[in-house]
């Protein structure tokens, strides 16, 4: 088994898959903490459906570079969704559900009316679970992912204190002059970019899982924002790494295996959290 693993790790495609998986895991877990705390856990899912809808429009229009349409539309939806925030009539989760379901249905309908490929349900399935097996990522994908991760990491690092302040108490932050709207906007753009880039590689199911589970797991154990952020990044990266390895060894689907790893990690954290609480009281 071990030898088999060593042998697999020689392949560039396996190396690329590991790099891309780990980077996506890292980025999505960082924004994940804020999104979960802002009650936007499902934004990953919603936005990937928007991206799917946009993609079907792009393919019906026979655009050669689909990103021209997909990225702006997804960013726009992200901005609209995160703007709903604390003080509006339609609450965040309802808004996400509306956009998510609407865009998915619209895209699916378009693809059926103007069939571009012969396998419509296959295309729909691939938005959920990743269009390509992670093992077919190219060097170009790796480079794009690396650049994106560096940008996300840098922005997150520099804005860390502002993001905390705005997430914890948007009203207070605004009252003392922090531009909450601006930071929400930046966050929206980041999450949209992550999703558009990652959707094709790993699918929306995995993105949602990587946004939600590491953050929730870390919140079971730790009581400070910094620790929760750092631990969820570590956890997410570990799960992605182990999940990919396991999927190779066991020949299981990559995305689903990573999600399974993240879910198991969540239950372990739940247990540790419960034990910790017991010790306190």
């Amino acid at each position: 088994m071990f030898e088999k693993l060593i042998q697999y790790l020689q392949y560039p495609s396996v190396q690329y898959a590991l790099i891309v998986g780990v980077l996506i895991a890292l980025c999505s877990s960082l924004v994940g903490v804020t999104l979960v705390l802002k009650r936007f856990s499902f934004i990953g899912d919603g936005l990937s459906h928007v991206a799917f809808g946009a993609m079907s429009v792009a393919s019906v229009l026979h655009l050669t570079n689909q990103m021209i349409l997909v990225l702006p539309l997804t960013v726009l939806s992200a901005i609209l969704l995160l703007r709903t925030g604390q003080n509006t009539k339609i609450k965040g989760d309802a808004a996400i559900a509306m956009i998510s379901v609407g865009a998915l249905a619209f895209g699916y309908m378009l693809m059926n009316i103007f069939p571009v490929s012969s396998n419509v349900s296959g295309d729909v399935c691939s938005t959920l679970f990743g269009s390509t097996s992670l093992l077919t990522v190219t060097l170009a994908d790796v480079l794009v992912c690396a650049v994106m991760s560096i940008v996300v990491l840098a922005v997150f690092f520099l804005l860390y204190n502002k993001i905390f302040a705005v997430t914890f108490d948007e009203n207070f932050a605004t009252a003392v002059g922090t531009k909450a709207k601006r930071y929400n906007l930046i966050l929206a753009v980041i999450i949209a970019v992550i999703i558009v880039l990652a959707m094709d590689l790993v699918g929306s199911l995995l993105i949602s899982a990587l946004v939600i589970f590491p953050a929730l797991s870390a919140m079971r154990i730790f009581g400070s924002f910094k620790r929760v952020t750092i631990f969820s990044a570590i956890l997410s990266v570990t799960c992605a790494f182990l999940g990919i390895i396991a999927s190779i060894l066991l020949s299981t689907p990559v995305g689903a295996t990573i999600v399974a790893a993240a879910v198991s990690a969540f239950f372990v954290c739940l247990l540790i959290g419960a034990l910790k609480k017991e010790k306190h009281t």
Binding site: L159, Y160, A175, M219, F225
Partner: protein, 237 residues
């Protein structure tokens, strides 16, 4: 010149007026209590003073040396905070946002200020504890320390004692009175009229008929008399 003056203010949401013809002034060192029934628009008024909400008409003038971002604010608790993983220190430090400006990280003075205010609120030993595990009274002290990091001059407190037990409530009132004696101007929302009369120098009563004046004037006014009668009637029963 006064620290804060409000002229002909009209407040509301979506063309629905909640408060009109509101006039009052607050001078440095005052302790103003805003009283009134639930839904009378007290929180809306405070949010307007903080520029979180736009007035439909009227002006809010701040004194010469008071910047809008130099007002400390203790909000009514929101849902997000209830299960938020944040340490006491992280929260208090976030009161220094205005000082910090565009700089990405807090500097030594700001960390020192956060420490001083935790000491002042007697929560230094809780610095690394998680906010959500604290008692209601401790949580309010944390938010007060955060507000103090934002201001030396004016504190706006939105129902700082709601949900606290009587003993902790009394401690909280004493704490706020001490801050006022140290020279910080206080504007506090409360629906506890007896506490308002006991501690405040001025009272703003929001209802159909708005009253603004000193506490003595309030006790002599019709609204005041009525309320005191009802309150004392309640406490006899």
């Amino acid at each position: 010149m006064s620290l804060l003056s409000v002229q002909n203010l009209v407040l509301g949401y979506d063309n629905h007026i909640i408060i009109q013809d509101l006039n009052f002034t607050v001078n440095a060192g005052d302790y103003l209590c805003i009283v009134g029934e639930n839904g009378s628009g007290k929180s809306t008024l405070v949010r307007t003073l903080l520029r979180l909400h736009k007035p439909m008409e009227g002006n809010i003038c701040l004194g010469d040396d008071l910047k809008p971002t130099e007002i400390g604010y203790l909000p009514q608790q929101t849902v997000v905070q209830k299960d938020f993983p944040a340490s006491v220190r992280e929260i208090v430090l976030s009161g220094c946002q205005a000082r910090c400006g565009r700089r990405p990280f807090y500097n030594r003075q700001e960390k020192q200020l956060a420490r001083q205010n935790m000491e002042r609120m007697d929560i230094l030993d809780l610095a690394h504890r998680c906010y959500r595990e604290l008692s209601g009274g401790q949580q309010q002290r944390v938010l007060l320390a955060r507000a103090l990091c934002a201001t030396q001059k004016l504190l706006l407190l939105d129902e700082p004692v709601s949900g606290l037990d009587p003993k902790v409530t009394a401690e909280m009132y004493d704490l706020i009175r001490d801050l006022n004696r140290d020279g910080i101007t206080i504007i506090m929302i409360s629906h506890d009229i007896s506490a308002a009369i006991q501690y405040a120098s001025h009272i703003l009563h929001i209802s159909k008929k708005i009253f603004f004046g000193t506490t003595e004037e309030y006790l002599k006014s019709d609204t005041g008399k009525l309320f005191v009668a009802i309150e004392s009637g309640d406490s006899i029963v």
